[in-house]
């Protein structure tokens, strides 16, 4: 049955290619999302499951990620029909089909229990999302797509080399080589440490490129800036989380091989570097989507930082995947509404959003406070947990650096965002008039769901989610039987 979670989106993609109507095709997205979510709700409470000779599995890690990806895609899919109705001038066949293939491949990444299959699925997500980035068919989106494709492909190729190095670490140490994660983590395999170190570096660079960790983040502002908001939401919330899961899987193997120190040092360094890069580049942004891209760089940094610290910070990082993804989905969809209304996304032309688009504007403001770690919102809970874990483990200097960077990002992002939000909603030359765009119910509902979930998770973490995160952390810390 696990296979259905991958097959349903792929079959829906094939149907999308066959449906002739540009107007009706986008509805395949929410229908598929509801089917996927129903499957997830039915399957996840059933505990661990295996399929295809143990190549696919729902284990404590994949349960958390596949559940989240399904909710995220539901939010994005709900937004798609109303958004694509505004863009009927463009053929959406490739966009809808590619979004569904990307969703299927993201599900496959989360369920893969085989090193090779996971790599293939991750590479396939790059190939499926590249045409989505090019939806607007203009020179800037072309440039963004080219950079995304080339940098993403090279990054993922390095991850393949890293995977080969890991296999070689088994061959060189004289152990039976296997690519199945459960065999690697349930029975201790002697691994050659020099090859394992090299493998982890390459894997972190490779999958870190997909996550958008600094300094491999250069594709991110371009791709997020030029892609439609719905694609940005799916990339920032879903694809980057899948890449983080790949890093988690290999970190788990390094832990089993008793090589935590080397990998933890690297993760903490990359985490702080990414947060620092975001802190430097955010205040000077004039483009709202590029601003959100740097926010994504920052939060990916937080994820690997939390993983590197270990202990309760790992639980915080896992929880932060969900909180960050929900906020990013809401922010990108709100940014898409602003872009449609103003036909622009830069401070030169976008002003007075709160007056002109009150729903999108206010929800974006709420999500800004949420994503920057203000109390009462989900990210506050997870960031606090990461920070507590950092200080508890005696990393005072790193904890203070983390806090200072958070503060700089808060002011940097706030100063840019307030420039968009406040002020009179005067007409600027060359900008779409209010009559051309109205905040319809379906354009607001998905953002409202994202905001609602973020607020809910800020004041109350459901017991099942706490249990899932705890089980995932225990799973990551499990040591082999022999």
């Amino acid at each position: 049955m696990i296979v259905l979670l991958v097959l349903v989106p792929l079959v829906a993609a094939a149907i999308a290619m066959l449906v002739p109507s540009n107007r009706h095709r986008p509805w395949i997205l929410p229908v598929t999302a509801v089917c996927h979510l129903a499957l997830v709700v039915w399957m996840l409470p059933q505990g661990e499951q295996w399929a295809m000779d143990r190549w696919l599995a729902i284990d404590p890690l994949s349960r958390l990620f596949v559940g989240f990806i399904s909710v995220l895609f539901f939010i994005c899919a709900l937004y798609a029909p109303a958004y694509l109705r505004l863009r009927l001038g463009r053929d959406n066949r490739i966009l809808v089909a590619c979004l569904l293939v990307a969703f299927g491949m993201m599900s496959l990444v989360t369920l893969s229990h085989h090193l090779g299959l996971m790599w293939i699925a991750m590479e396939a997500t790059t190939l499926a999302t590249a045409p989505c980035v090019y939806f607007n068919r203009n020179p800037k989106s072309l440039e963004a797509t080219w950079k995304y494709l080339v940098i993403g492909s090279v990054g993922i190729a390095l991850a393949l080399l890293g995977s080969f190095f890991l296999i070689y670490a088994m061959v060189q140490a004289g152990s039976e080589s296997t690519l199945l994660f459960d065999e690697l983590i349930e029975h201790s395999h002697p691994l050659s440490l020099p090859w394992l170190h090299a493998a982890f570096v390459l894997l972190l660079v490779g999958y870190g490129t997909k996550m958008g960790l600094s300094p491999m983040h250069t594709w991110k502002p371009d791709a997020y800036g030029e892609a439609p908001g719905i694609v940005g939401a799916l990339l920032a919330g879903g694809l980057t989380s899948c890449a983080f899961l790949c890093v988690l899987r290999f970190f788990h193997i390094a832990h089993i091989a008793d090589d935590d120190q080397h990998s933890q040092r690297l993760l903490i360094f990359m985490g702080l570097l990414s947060m620092g890069t975001a802190a430097v580049f955010m205040p000077r942004q004039r483009d709202i989507k590029r601003l959100l891209a740097y926010s994504s760089v920052e939060h990916m940094g937080m994820l690997v930082f939390g993983l590197g610290i270990g202990g309760i910070a790992t639980g915080g990082a896992l929880l932060h995947v969900i909180h960050n993804g929900l906020c990013k989905a809401g922010l990108f969809l709100a940014a898409a509404n602003i872009h449609r209304a103003y036909c622009s996304k830069t401070t030169d032309q976008v002003r007075g959003v709160l007056k002109r688009l009150p729903w999108s504007g206010w929800m974006m403001m709420i999500l800004f406070f949420a994503i920057t770690g203000s109390p009462l919102f989900g990210p506050f809970v997870s960031e606090f947990q990461i920070l507590s874990g950092t200080f508890d483990s005696g990393n005072v200097g790193r904890g203070i650096t983390f806090l200072v960077l958070l503060l700089i990002v808060f002011f940097g992002m706030g100063s840019v965002l307030l420039g968009f939000m406040l002020g009179p909603a005067e007409e600027v030359e060359g900008v779409g008039s209010p009559q051309q765009f109205r905040e319809s119910f379906l354009l607001i509902l998905p953002i409202f769901i994202a905001v609602g979930l973020t607020v809910l998770l800020g004041v109350y973490t459901p017991s099942f989610l706490t249990a899932w995160v705890d089980q995932a952390v225990a799973f990551l810390q499990r040591i082999p039987l022999d």
Partner: protein, 226 residues
């Protein structure tokens, strides 16, 4: 038969240098295709040469069939389908036959040479399995990956970058020759398919680049920056 492996890899290394220096697009595509096809043909040679128990031959009809199927697929995709597709994309885009480098020809050649020597020296210091010590795959793999990077970062045209990516992937494939027993058939096929689809998508975007900008030079793709 494993004696043919190292000479084959030396030819693959020479093709790196050719791809680094040639200014003719067609010849560059042919060189990369030859390298891909050659590596595909080295696949069964490596299979017999690197079995962990040296005297073992392909034991069952299934492993023999698997070997033939994979060799044929790799040679077909890397040596025929990808170059054919790239040549067609170049013809449709009406790009000029010259490919140029942002830093001239001598510098990439020099760096490629240095990278190859460094790879040879570096591989000596790596802990290797006994059956791999006297063979070339690891230095050849590292050198080819680095040459791929050099082509990717020095070529001005979008097509040159695609070819650099393929060379880089060929370098990773050479490393994979050591792990034939460990990587399942489905994964091998998946990797080849991903490469093909990757080049296919790049080819389509390349066509759009060439329509949007004259000469499909990536220098036009530099408006998005901080």
């Amino acid at each position: 038969m494993s004696d043919l492996l190292d000479p084959g890899l030396v030819i693959a290394l020479l093709l790196n240098f050719y791809a680094l220096t040639t200014t003719n697009l067609k010849q560059m595509i042919y060189a990369v295709a030859m390298q891909g096809a050659l590596l595909g043909m080295l696949y069964p040679i490596a299979h017999t040469g690197f079995l962990s128990h040296a005297d073992a031959e392909p034991t069952s009809w299934f492993s023999g069939l698997r070997l033939m199927a994979l060799t044929a697929t790799i040679v077909l995709v890397k040596g025929f389908l990808i170059p054919r597709f790239l040549l067609r994309a170049a013809r449709l885009a009406d790009v000029r036959s010259q490919v140029t480098s942002t830093v001239g020809v001598m510098l990439p050649l020099l760096l490629g040479g240095v990278a190859t020597v460094l790879a040879l020296v570096f591989a000596k210091s790596l802990p290797l399995a006994p059956q791999h010590i006297s063979h070339l795959p690891i230095p050849a793999s590292l050198a080819t990956v680095m040459c791929g990077f050099l082509i990717l970062s020095s070529r001005r045209e979008a097509m040159g970058q695609v070819l650099g990516y393929i060379v880089l992937e060929n370098g990773i494939f050479i490393f994979g020759l050591l792990l034939i027993e460990a990587v399942p058939l489905l994964v091998e096929l998946g990797i080849v398919l991903d490469l093909f689809v990757g080049v296919f998508v790049m080819g389509i975007i390349f066509n759009h680049v060439s329509r949007a900008f004259p000469e499909a030079s990536v220098e036009h793709l530099s408006t998005l920056k901080e």
